[in-house]
Symmetry: C2
């Protein structure tokens, strides 16, 4: 078990910016590009860690904001960290809490040290600062940590975003200091990523990326996207960031997204993704397939005795029919949330595996074309 | 795969009425006494069929009333029966719908042919008759079927129960005729059980049992208990029934119950049980153990890093702590419903396995005493 974080850029596709790499952590290696299932509150909703591994999960994500509120970092410290608490012995990443503080929490106020906010659970007041967010993530014990950032609203104007950029970069500086000063809690190293912000303003995106790169962090995230802006703006901002970010560091596009978003971002040189879509939409009966999405509640599946996807090797497709799944959805049976979530996680991992293979063989451009020839993007999620 | 239903009474404990037997069906054998998890709507809530088999489930139960309303028997026929629809290839039992019609459905009226009622889902009107209930169960395809019965309310008076008894016996007669006349849908035989009713009136219980025994059915159920009467009345009525029922036929106490109820009923010569308690209570965080029940939501488990039961071999106890489970309960995480349900199902199966072994060795009396020396019955469920 290597105790040092490392990113190896194995290969770049000859005809696109798509990259094939490997991240090494104390809990194992991660082949990139990679999709990371979201385990918000120490659980990827409805699924067991063993099912995730079987589906091909290499790394999962935990949310610092949620874990801080419940069960609390002191309990996680007593448990020996989130890996042990949740029985997940592969790599793990925690976000910074910034997105949740600025989207989920009540009444928030930025002050000199950080931000004061109210818990969405009980309205209690809390302060997040760069220093205490680093301490929380140290105690949670993830292999990859995020610097605390301000996530400006989707409709913020240029002046607001410019001021916000300055806050995020200053907080990243303070995070780096705290990260370097403190010993890891559990004996293995934890890698800090900075988060590029800048809204949909090209100049501010570039500036944010440039200022963060100066901090020479182990990796960089692209945040504040997929928050309501049109897809072309998301891609444009991703491209601005990836052009600035160093080629020898991993790039993580946070909270993205639909399968086509992942394909486009890989094409722009992104290495890592997370999104609740496969599990959240799965719980409602939306299945992802190579032909697009299926709403398995639809009456057309009432007597369809085929699996969700004939070629899929997931537990759901190996053992159950669309008719059975539709019945369980109609009857509000809990088991169906597992089945469709698991299928979707498997699909996302297969999607990434397909891209990884295509990049290795310098045929990502053809692969992407072939993907779109089959995949029909759904209008609704 | 034997196509004939058979019950073999292997051994009766030398110092009690506890019995050790084996039921053979087209889908395999069932070692008795046995507990049957409830798969109301073609799914044992939150659990996969493979998890059930791993936990020791030999047979599961489906509810005719629910399956008739959703997904409907025509769809189950198209699927090749409930076994194939739900991917369960071990034995299966269906109830008669009587209990649900008389407890769950709206506005019900007994008429000459059967009973008219309103669906609890959409208020639509339906008729259940002995003949069409047999047809439904023929199409569902369970290995063991129940005769359609009237389930009188817990507080019904003696006159009402006497009239109801006559209805139940007459319906059982008609069920037998229909069962004998119709070929099984899927090529394997299905065994019909009659249901002893009679409320808590000893004379009426005995009469019901005697009249059903005259029908010479493959097995007998004891119904209308565990519906609100005190435990001593349930045991007294069970004993009245088991004294009358033939020793060479299996006896099934329907809808029972708590672990101590199972121990007492086995002591009275009962072979089969079903109950939603392990799964329903499990979803709320109540775990069954050899020491009694635990409410895993309680603050005392906040930092308890032991499994639910150190000696339990279930998936939950092998991989997760009480502290983690309590956190998931606090956070309303779906995964926890699986963990505690699975543990409870495993506990119920271990309980029955313990009784089976004790009976074989003629030490059931000592086993029962030992059970009570450890087990503290909870006051609440």
């Amino acid at each position: 078990m290597s105790s040092q974080f490392n990113f190896q850029l194995k290969h770049t596709d000859q005809n696109s910016k798509a990259r094939r790499g490997k991240i090494s952590t104390a809990h194992g290696d991660i082949e990139t590009p990679v999709f990371m299932p979201v385990g918000t509150q120490a659980s990827v909703k409805s699924l067991s860690p063993h099912e995730l591994v079987d589906a091909g999960s290499q790394i999962i994500l935990g949310n610092t904001y949620h874990l801080y509120l419940r069960p609390g970092t002191e309990l996680l410290r007593q448990a020996g960290g989130l890996h042990k608490f949740a029985n997940w012995d592969k790599p793990m990443l925690t976000d910074s809490g910034g997105y949740q503080v600025f989207s989920l929490a009540g009444l928030r106020k930025i002050h000199e040290d950080g931000v004061r906010f109210q818990s969405h659970i009980d309205g209690s007041y809390h302060d997040f600062t760069p220093e205490n967010v680093m301490e929380m993530q140290r105690l949670i014990g993830a292999d990859i940590l995020m610097a605390f950032d301000e996530c400006p609203p989707h409709d913020a104007d240029e002046n607001y975003v410019a001021r916000s950029n300055a806050v995020t970069v200053e907080w990243a500086r303070r995070c780096k200091v705290a990260w370097l000063e403190n010993e890891p809690e559990y004996g293995y190293s934890q890698a800090l990523f900075g988060i590029v912000q800048g809204g949909t303003f090209e100049k501010l995106r570039r500036q944010s990326a440039e200022q963060l790169v100066e901090l020479e962090l182990p990796g960089y995230s692209i945040g504040g996207l997929s928050v309501g802006e049109p897809a072309p703006a998301m891609y444009a901002m991703t491209e601005v960031a990836t052009e600035v970010l160093p080629i020898d560091k991993p790039r993580y596009l946070m909270g993205v997204g639909k399968p086509e978003n992942l394909v486009e971002a890989v094409n722009l040189g992104v290495d890592m993704f997370d999104c609740v879509m496969p599990t959240r939409n799965g719980r409602k009966g939306q299945a992802f397939t190579w032909q697009g999405t299926l709403n398995l509640k639809n009456a057309q599946f009432k007597d369809d005795f085929h699996p969700i996807d004939e070629k899929c090797r997931c537990y759901a497709c190996q053992h159950f029919t669309r008719a059975y799944i539709r019945h369980l959805l109609q009857a509000n049976e809990l088991f169906v949330m597992r089945l469709v979530s698991l299928h979707n996680i498997q699909f996302y991992h297969n999607l990434m595996a397909g891209m990884r293979e295509a990049i290795e063989q310098n045929r990502f451009v053809a692969w992407r074309k072939e993907f779109y020839s089959r995949y029909r993007s759904g209008d609704k999620e």
